[in-house]
């Protein structure tokens, strides 16, 4: 059985359904020595803002059981430097680029999308909604359906590139937020961002992160991420979903695809294995062959929800 790993994500053909997740693959350039950037399903860049951001003080990360906490604080060189440097490099390398955007207001998101519209090499845009809305008491956009929808609208108005809305699982009703952003025009969803967590250095009796709290990622959160994809795929059939959270093997990727994701993104996995994005795709190819599936898109139909 020959397997064709390519998938269609919001009208964009990806070589494989395995992407590099935002913030976990730098701006892509760093990995040129480790993997063939053009062979990946896609590279979601570190989130880019209008102005450069320095990020948070260190320590910015802490290991936790089967996961890690991070509080990087969205350090990035700003959209202009991004376009002039990283994006040009990625486009030249033939990578499929998903540009991740982060703003403090819906207007900022819109201006970012406008700036990137038509930049060669941007295949999709991902809207990172897990950041504080300065116009609304610093509440995270993705926790409020209306605020999230407003951002998506602003972005859709500004770009002709397909738009993924990236949501957080730290909400009471994820389906409501997902529905709001899809109604606002999002072409697809990325589920999930990190969970809010905290760890304590008991010896020194202080938080292990300088920022006190941070985002929990890695295999520890995979069951939460799989559940989120399943719930949203059930509620909003036909909406493309990129599943993210703890993918480190081809089998992990298969979990997400079986419950309804169109693609997956590997985050923390790349920190342990710089070739994780490639190896997850290889593992998935073997899995599909074992299961007699010719392509990733066949998996949801093979899933038996009632045991």
């Amino acid at each position: 059985m020959t397997v064709d790993l390519s998938v269609d994500l919001c009208g964009v053909r990806l070589r494989t359904p395995v992407l590099a997740a935002s913030g976990c693959f730098g701006f892509g350039r760093e990995m040129a020595g480790w993997v063939d950037l053009a062979a990946l399903g896609g590279i979601v860049t570190k989130s880019v803002s209008l102005e450069p951001r320095r990020g948070r003080p260190t320590p910015r990360m802490a290991e936790t059981p089967s996961g890690m906490l991070n509080a990087i604080g969205l350090q990035n060189p700003g959209v202009e430097a991004f376009c002039a440097g990283d994006l040009k490099f990625l486009a030249g390398a033939g990578a499929t680029v998903v540009a991740s955007l982060v703003g403090r207001t819906p207007g900022e998101f819109g201006r970012l999308a406008e700036r990137l519209d038509g930049e060669p090499g941007v295949a999709l845009v991902e809207v990172n909604l897990s950041c504080p809305n300065v116009e609304h008491r610093g509440e995270v956009f993705a926790t409020d359906p209306a605020a999230a929808a407003e951002v998506v609208q602003a972005v859709k108005r500004a770009t002709s590139t397909p738009v993924l809305a990236k949501l957080t699982a730290d909400v009471t009703d994820l389906v409501a937020v997902a529905r709001a952003v899809v109604d606002a025009g999002a072409d697809g969803l990325t589920l999930i961002n990190t969970l809010l967590g905290m760890a304590v250095d008991t010896g020194r009796r202080r938080p292990r992160l300088a920022a006190v709290t941070g985002g929990l990622s890695g295999p520890a959160i995979r069951p939460v991420a799989v559940r989120c994809v399943w719930q949203v795929a059930q509620a909003l059939p036909g909406v493309p979903i990129v599943g993210t959270g703890g993918v480190v093997t081809g089998e992990d990727a298969a979990e997400f695809l079986l419950v309804g994701a169109t693609a997956v993104a590997v985050g923390t996995g790349s920190f342990i294995n710089p070739r994780a994005v490639v190896e997850v795709a290889d593992g998935l190819e073997r899995y599909l062959a074992d299961q007699g599936a010719g392509s990733p898109a066949e998996l949801p139909a093979l899933f038996k929800a009632e045991r």
């Binding site: 693959f25 730098g26 260190t58 089967s66 991070n70 440097g85 923390t268 920190f271």
Partner: protein, 290 residues
């Protein structure tokens, strides 16, 4: 040389004073490694998905007579180093390396003063060998809290023209900090370069002494690292406008006076004068090195 991932057989694990030394069969890492670079190690079959742990390369045996090996020396402080300390010969360690920016040797032979604190002396062993091969005079200073935490003083004594030892408790060498004898040694040896590795306050002090003396200084820092490959941005350090990239591809310049440089990619070796010491809580030093 661009770094590789290598599954390395453990050739030996042994005690070195209060530290553990680990020798790994690592032909591809050993081939290109330069002093100041590090390996990022993962030990054992552990389903908890632990992060790697970074260690300076202590010694290298280039492929040739043997297949090529690297040796690291480490202090057992937590779960990761405990796992490494349980390794037995023939076990396998997953290594990334050689990673990071190495020390820059002087263009022409020159006197060099090397200062190491605790296991921080490790990369200086490798550096001393390289500097001497290039015809440089090497003087060493190593310090530690106590005698057992001095890294292999016998071998250290062989590496340079002189070895000065300090301990906090006076159990070996001079009682005091590793930085105490510096001004005197700089004057005495006429060194034109200073290289240092150890805890941050020590690196700050060394950078200050070097700046006062007008001697070029490079320091290897230790920040917490997740990836070690430049993609997670956890290991950053504020670096001044002139600072940093050391021949490696720099990240795009940010629109700032200082920027947060990744110590795994643009470091761990930085010019002492490039680090934005003020932001790290050493304001007087910033004044000095400006």
């Amino acid at each position: 040389m661009s770094p590789v991932r290598e599954l390395c057989e453990v050739l030996e694990r042994r005690r070195v004073g209060e530290y553990q030394a680990l020798t790994l069969a690592a032909p591809r890492v050993a081939e290109g490694a330069r002093p100041g670079q590090f390996v990022h190690l993962l030990a054992g079959e552990d389903r908890s998905f632990p992060l790697r742990r970074p260690f300076s390369i202590w010694r290298v045996e280039r492929p040739g007579a043997g297949p090529g090996a690297v040796e690291v020396v480490f202090d057992v402080v937590g779960a990761g180093t405990r796992a490494l300390a349980r390794l037995r010969p023939h076990d396998v360690v997953d290594a990334l390396g050689p990673l990071g920016r190495p020390f820059d040797p002087p263009e022409a032979p020159a006197g060099c003063l090397l200062i190491g604190g605790g296991y921080g002396a490790a990369p200086l062993f490798f550096l001393a060998a390289e500097l001497r091969a290039r015809g440089c005079r090497v003087d060493l200073v190593t310090g530690a809290a106590t005698a057992a935490r001095l890294l292999d003083p016998t071998e250290a004594g062989r590496l340079g023209s002189s070895l000065t030892v300090t301990t906090d408790d006076g159990s070996a060498g001079r009682r005091g900090l590793v930085t105490d004898p510096l001004p005197e040694l700089l004057a005495g040896t006429g060194a034109e370069r200073v290289y240092a590795c150890g805890p941050m306050p020590m690196l700050a002090a060394v950078s200050r002494v070097a700046a006062v003396a007008g001697v070029a200084c490079q320091v290897a820092v230790e920040e917490q690292m997740a990836c070690g490959t430049g993609i997670c941005f956890s290991c950053v350090l504020p670096v001044g406008p002139g600072g940093g990239s050391g021949g490696l591809e720099p990240s795009p310049p940010e629109n700032r006076e200082t920027r947060m440089a990744r110590s795994c990619l643009e470091g761990p070796v930085f010019d002492g004068a490039a680090i934005a010491w003020a932001e790290l809580g050493y304001p007087e030093l910033e004044e000095l090195v400006r």
